[in-house]
């Protein structure tokens, strides 16, 4: 069970855009090897930094409209949303220390 909640078109507005804390959205798909590799790392970040940053997962296969809206053309892509806006985009699977460094200001 993932520590990060799945978001869909039904709750994206409430969970991501209206969130009062920064939100890390993991755009992923079942058939993407690097997504499966980085998934557990994203889960760890969700657990270890709960309260500071909210971590959610968006299945680009099932929620193609949202992925398209945010111009996702490569997965995994990790987007940080603050106040409904994308403030950071990380493309490609990276090791945990590299991700933590990129996300430092939101943790």
């Amino acid at each position: 069970m993932s520590a990060a909640q799945a978001v869909t078109v039904a709750n994206f507005e409430a969970e991501v855009l209206q969130s009062t804390t920064p939100v890390l959205v993991d755009f992923w798909a079942e058939w993407c090897g690097p997504c499966r590799a980085v998934g557990p790392i994203v889960d760890e970040i969700a657990t270890e930094h709960a309260g500071k940053i909210k971590v959610v997962k968006l299945n680009t296969d099932e929620e193609a409209a949202i992925a398209m809206k945010y111009g996702i053309m490569s997965i995994p892509t990790l987007n940080v949303f603050v106040g409904g806006q994308v403030v950071k985009t990380i493309v490609g699977a990276k090791p945990k220390p590299a991700l933590l460094k990129e996300l430092a200001e939101y943790l």
Binding site: C32, G33, P40, I75, K96
Partner: protein
Amino acid sequence: MSEIQNEVDVVIVGSGPAGYTAAIYAARAQLKPVMYEGSITAGGALMNTTEVENFPGFPEGVMGPDLMDSMRKQAEKFGTKLITDDIVEMKLAGELKVLTDGSGNTVHAKAVILATGSAYKEIGLTNEKRLSGRGVSWCATCDGFFFRDKVVAIVGGGDSAMEEANFLTRFASKVVLIHRRDSLRASKIMADRAMANPKIEFLWNTEVIDVLGADQMTGLRLKSTVDGSESEQNFDGLFIAIGHVPRSELIIGQIDLDAEGYVQVQGRSSRTNLTGVFACGDLVDHTYRQAITAAGTGCEAALDAERFLSGH
């Protein structure tokens, strides 16, 4: 920061056909190998492929990730300790090798088998990096989905480029394969398949010299390798499959590498110039770079390590 295990016989760095095969042999030799699979690279290059048709024993073909999962299970079954982390530092000289992982743990080993494989080669253009994830991709199986009914370019001339071009035709309306020469180095079966695919067009004797687009890739600037003429063409995406570079960055200066960064091994063996350090797979191989040859050299590395340890 804790010590996982103070001292072990053999550590295998990197997974993939070479690493897992080394692990299977070392584990069956009762060496209790510890393998650092890599935090995001576990399973190696085959994790991003679809069907593997040339690995012996699978007449119907096998999916790359499934093949790697089977090798992993086989390594684990015989007692390999698998750690899903990266090695970030290695001190390989001396009798006990010291390795540090991404979580800050250190392990000491009498023997080390290097199987770190290779990484995607980049064309080396500034805009290639800038537009990565904005139309530029190194992974057709990951990103092909986002190019439904779009026109994409793929650059490369080997088996990987052919496989990815064929895969991309599931989604794209047209795939243009750009190659700087007028013939392919891909195997005949893969080349024939790509040439027979009505959605694939070939642009021969052509190099990509720039990726165009502000926030999203819109096209490519191309140069003829025959007469040097330049042109621009619209594309929604660019997939890069121009080969690989050995992942030897952690051992530069410690181990003898050749001019391209591949680890040099002694004769028909996996022995490096450092006692107790063995290398296998794509890290040592500029020539063959197949799953089966990587597995073969992984076996050699485990046998060489076993022989070394028994005389220790």
